[in-house]
Amino acid sequence: MTALAPTARDAALATLGECKVCAHRCGVNRLAGPAGLCGAGRVPRVFSAQIEVGDELELIPAFAIALSGCNMRCAFCITGDESWHATRGRNPDTAALAARAVHAIESGAVKSVLILGGEPTVHLPWLLEFAGLLPAEARLVLKTNGLSTAHAREFLDGVFDVWLVDFKFGSDVCAMELSRTPGYRAALEETLVWASEHADLIVRHLLMPGHVECCWKPIAAWLAQQLPEAKVSLRFGYWPAWQAERIAGLDRAITSEEQAHTLAIAQRFGLHLIP
């Protein structure tokens, strides 16, 4: 999107000495080594890099790059091992990875380059370095859990064309029980409003079994009131993964009744659903 000066990456790297890139604001020194709730150091590890077609239709095919390490602890995480352990995957050859992405773009194989995790924003300096290696016309997508701080977003402003934000939980109670994340809603709302003003925003919600009323309904109500024009992507492909079985009710896929109820709520609130 925007050509970046190398100084942006260096400035972001320096802030890892007292890390406040996410809402946990650990203040740990990640320059000295992996630290904090995410367990990430100064450079991410990559556990997947391939062309994918499972995301929103307007984004695919996408060259998807998945970075290990996350600042949430979702029991149901589909990439739990890599997300909970920042040491999984391989050290990236950033230039080679960027070359693959550029080739995919220039050959017409992909519409966009999608960076995901784990949680990519915890790897802020690398994001800036990688983005700086892509042509300005590349459509760059950040798939994030939305826990970034204003400090991190200031660096990311103008870097990503699309912010694909996972709005996972409608209540802080569920956020704590399912992902051990305090202060979830406030952090999410702040990021969503910012993203709607600074990029093309897509709000994604993965419906979880038994969480229509407590999670989806308040999310839908908030979006209708605060971001009525936002593109909303409902995902119904939940399956029990990682440690889901330790949470009551998460050990099954969603039912057709839950899916129908979810769509009815979306329609009632007049949300702008996208496939």
């Binding site: 890099a49 994918e52 077609v53 499972g54 239709l57 589909i78 693959r100 492909g237 496939p275």
Partner: protein
Amino acid sequence: MSSEVVEESSILILGDGRILARNVTPAIAAVLLALQPDNAELALRAGTSIEKATSSSNTP
């Protein structure tokens, strides 16, 4: 990291016949489309039209 990484996807087939997938590559989308040739959204993901998918599924 090697610039050549093995592609990886996962598929879960539920007892009621529903098929769930993650990290869907174009090749996996083609496989899924062969199982559900009338699925128009899947056809888009597989990079083909529903007419083409139906036609090819009828090819001897």
